[in-house]
């Protein structure tokens, strides 16, 4: 079977995120760009599915020129091929536009299972995968902390606030994974070398037949009008524990009438 995995390139989440003061778009220049850590779990999950069932993993991204780096990384981990949708007219796309583009890429790829992160680490709307599923007319099994595919059936453990649900669907389907699902493998040196010669297909909006006026800034159904530092909580007292810290905390809890 062919399994698509969505991989998003994001500014290094350990750095400080910035929005351009004029356009209010995420600043990607100058920032170190990495594979979204949540998507590394997705790649791992997709690889395990094909290791158990046979087939190939196809890594798919939508993003600027440098987004090819995350496709190479996914291929270094073991994906067999990649699709990169890049088009200047996609700049400023919202989650819905992103979903339209990714759904078109999946349809073209012939994949019958899509694995994605539950939410990206930068935009974190958490809506792209389910929107892709809706556009394809597929079920979405979201928040998976365990995933199993067996003769045309997908079964997950869906993380819930109280525990987990067991959820099942027939293929084709979209699955989103949480960080708890696995420990992503590191690409081996051999994997990194092999990735350089694996097929990477570059597609434009025209290749996918997605109307340009419905994506990018033009198609966005909303407009960011301001971005400002959130009101900061002022830091308070900082003490070094010299054996008396427990007493100080207890006094503080008493001041707050918690005890």
């Amino acid at each position: 079977m062919k399994v698509a995995v969505f991989v998003k390139q994001i500014p290094d989440p350990t750095g400080v995120g910035r929005l351009d003061p004029a356009t209010h778009l995420l600043v990607r220049d100058g920032a170190e760009l990495v594979l979204d850590p949540g998507d590394a779990n997705g790649v791992e999950a997709a690889l395990r599915v094909v290791e158990a069932n046979g087939g190939e993993v196809v890594a798919i991204t939508m993003g600027g020129e440098r987004a090819a780096e995350v496709l190479r990384k996914a291929m270094a981990m073991g994906a067999g091929s990649a699709i990169h949708v890049a088009d200047d007219r996609l700049r400023g796309s919202d989650a819905l536009a992103t979903a339209r583009v990714l759904a078109a890429a999946v349809a073209r790829s012939g994949c019958e299972l899509v694995v994605a992160g539950t939410e990206s680490t930068d935009g974190y709307t958490g809506t792209v995968p389910a929107a892709v599923a809706e556009l394809l007319g597929w079920p979405a099994l979201t928040f998976a902390k365990a995933l199993e595919v067996d003769s045309g059936t997908v079964r997950i453990q869906r993380q819930t606030p109280a525990g987990h649900d067991v959820v099942e669907a027939s293929l084709p389907a979209v699955v989103t994974v949480t960080g708890a699902i696995n420990e992503p493998r590191y690409p081996s040196l051999r994997g990194i070398m092999a990735a350089k010669s694996k097929p990477l297909e570059l597609l434009s909006l025209d290749d996918l037949g997605v109307p340009p006026d419905e994506v990018g800034l033009a198609g966005a159904g909303q407009e960011v009008i301001s971005a400002a530092p959130a009101p900061e909580r002022a830091a308070g007292e900082l003490i070094e524990d010299d054996g008396s810290a427990a007493r100080r905390i207890a006094d503080y809890l008493a001041e707050l009438k918690v005890i």
Binding site: L96, G221, S226, D241
Partner: protein
């Protein structure tokens, strides 16, 4: 400003707290507040929804809404939005809310705004405030489409009763052609004791700095003494030390207790999003530069494995067992 529609959620025979927060706030946004309630227990929750300001309810009670994820509800809600053209649709920012809003967005080609912490009217549009980058930046977005879909984070608004009567109800049948999709076979509930994390007045949270799972026992002890609940960072949830139900943060619970005590938690932005609304924050961390100290009211640079047991002793000396 027209009709505000809310996708209500039912939890244990009542509207979810977040649903009541949304209904209450919607009164300030529109002329009329309507709810769509798709759940086998829908009729039981209508009086409470009315009492918080919903004057109209669209109701479906098929079992499919519990048994299947997203798809049947999206089918029915999309048809409803298309028919009644609400000025705004509010969704709880929960797992179910996200799946539903995403599908409605795709079906109707309507934009979805996620992670909202405030929504206000602005002429015919709405201004949606969301906090990003671990709540360090506030973004205000103006909607510019019909019926924008907004996913709201828990505890952004206060639930207040309006004393309204039960809403006027219209039953929405689930059409035979609606796709059912992924099916829930079983729900497994992890055991828990004490007050729920989201309701607790005191939350004692532990991170990787607690060193190992067994050390969470001292946090449980401290939480018990303070009548509070135990929370955790994702690092320790992913490590399997504690169940996901305890996770605080962007992908876990949002808590706003009177006091949040962070033990061995670095203060990653994804953790801060879930707890920075706490009235008071105490942090214990051995690294003086840990980001958690930037927002703590009382920070202790020290070993949590020493400070917490000492605090338990100190509280015992003050009469708390």
């Amino acid at each position: 400003m027209g009709l505000i529609l809310i996708a209500a959620e039912v939890a244990g025979g009542s509207p979810s707290p977040l649903t009541l927060e949304l209904v209450s706030h919607a009164r300030t946004l529109g002329d009329e507040v309507a709810v769509v309630v798709l759940d086998p227990e829908a009729d039981a929750v209508l009086p409470a929804l009315g009492a918080h300001g919903a004057s109209r309810a669209y109701v479906g009670q098929e079992r499919a809404y519990r048994e299947h994820l997203g798809q049947p509800a999206a089918h029915v809600v999309s048809a409803l939005v298309d028919r009644v053209r609400p000025a705004l649709v509010l969704f709880p920012g929960t797992q179910e809310g996200r799946d539903l809003a995403a599908r409605v967005s795709a079906r109707l080609q309507l934009p979805v705004l996620a992670n909202a912490i405030d929504v206000t009217g602005d002429g015919d549009d709405f201004l949606v405030r969301s906090s990003i980058f671990g709540a360090t930046v506030d973004v205000v977005t103006r909607t510019r489409s019909r019926s924008p879909l907004v996913l709201v984070r828990p505890k952004s608004f206060t639930a207040t009763a309006s004393g309204g009567p039960p809403p006027v109800t219209e039953v929405l049948p689930l059409p035979a052609e609606a796709p059912l999709g992924a099916r829930r076979l079983e729900s497994v509930v992890a055991p828990s004791a004490g007050p729920g994390l989201e309701e607790a007045k005191v939350v004692v949270s532990g991170g990787r700095g607690m060193q190992e799972a067994a050390n969470f026992e001292v946090l449980e002890h401290l939480a018990r003494q303070l009548g509070g609940a135990v929370g955790a960072s994702r690092a320790v949830v992913d490590a399997g030390w504690v169940p996901y139900a305890l996770q605080v943060g962007q992908t876990g619970k949002t808590v706003k207790p009177d006091v949040y005590i962070a033990c061995g938690i670095s203060g990653a932005m994804q953790h801060l999003v879930g707890m920075k609304g706490s009235s008071h924050i105490v942090a214990i961390n051995k690294d003086p530069d840990a980001p958690i100290f930037k927002l703590s009211d009382l920070g202790v640079v020290g070993d949590a494995l020493k400070v917490v047991p000492a605090l338990i002793e100190e509280l015992r000396a003050r009469g708390l067992s």
